[in-house]
Symmetry: C2
Subunit: 128 residues, 2 copies
DNA sequence: GCAATATACCTTGCAGTGCTATGTATATTG
DNA sequence: CAATATACATAGCACTGCAAGGTATATTGC
């Protein structure tokens, strides 16, 4: 049985929640990272980590890239690297660009609704 | 085999994504709905629907309420209704209030990071 | 009285998703 | 030629939401 997380502490429900929140956003995040330029797998992880503080595992990334490609939102191509293992670069298809835009719009209205729900909490008023 | 959604259309991947996005936020939404007042089950659904455009099924709500209670974030009590079936009212424990606050803070910083990622897309600049 | 309806709570089984762990391939370094 | 670094890939597990179906209580129409 597995009871410890990587840092050796007991898994806490707070951690689980944060993971859960990330979950729903990963596809959008990955598509969005490709908005401006082609990237290869591990590079996507680095970009998301550095630009948006979003950390995901390789075992999470590759299946998602596969799904997105199968849906026709991404294309990919192998490219010989100057050194080491060849890299598989991904970029958005026209359908993919359309999709990112509509997802981003949905995200915006969704979070706006949510912010309304959280306003009483973050404005410092006590609940009863 | 099941191929149709409730409205009779084919299930689209966009729908799946929207569902996925909601998923990570439900616990926070439910806890937040209880910030100001005690509510009973179905009432929570109505509040979230009307105030935040957030629709969830009963089969989703009750298990979550059970989890949250088990974690010590909620308390509950049966109350005779003026008419019909008795209602089970829920409210936040002190630990629950603490938790909502920390979740709301995490939400705020998380969405801020994300908005940065989406800015190039929503500002109307074309990708290449 | 008693079926039909409305309100409310609860549970079961399934499907979708991310993550840990592990595996493979290529090239460089000691 | 082992060890290391980079990169892509997959299998099995655990968690979560949801559709569907079930139970309980009270009111309404006949």
């Amino acid at each position: 049985m597995k009871l410890l997380t990587r840092n050796g502490s007991k898994p806490e429900t707070t951690d689980k929640w944060e993971a859960q929140l990330r979950k729903g956003c990963l596809e959008l995040a990955i598509l969005a990272s490709l908005w401006q330029e082609k990237l290869y797998g591990l590079e996507i992880l680095r970009v998301l980590h550095q630009n948006s503080n979003l950390v995901l595992a390789e075992g999470t990334l590759y299946p998602i890239l596969g799904r997105l490609k199968e849906e026709g939102l991404l294309e990919s191509e192998w490219v010989e690297a100057e050194a080491g293992h060849p890299r598989k670069y991904y970029w958005l298809t026209p359908a993919g660009k359309q999709r990112v835009i509509s997802m981003a719009r949905f995200w915006t209205s969704f979070t706006a609704n949510f912010d309304g729900l959280l306003k009483p909490i973050l404005s410092g008023k006590a609940g009863r």
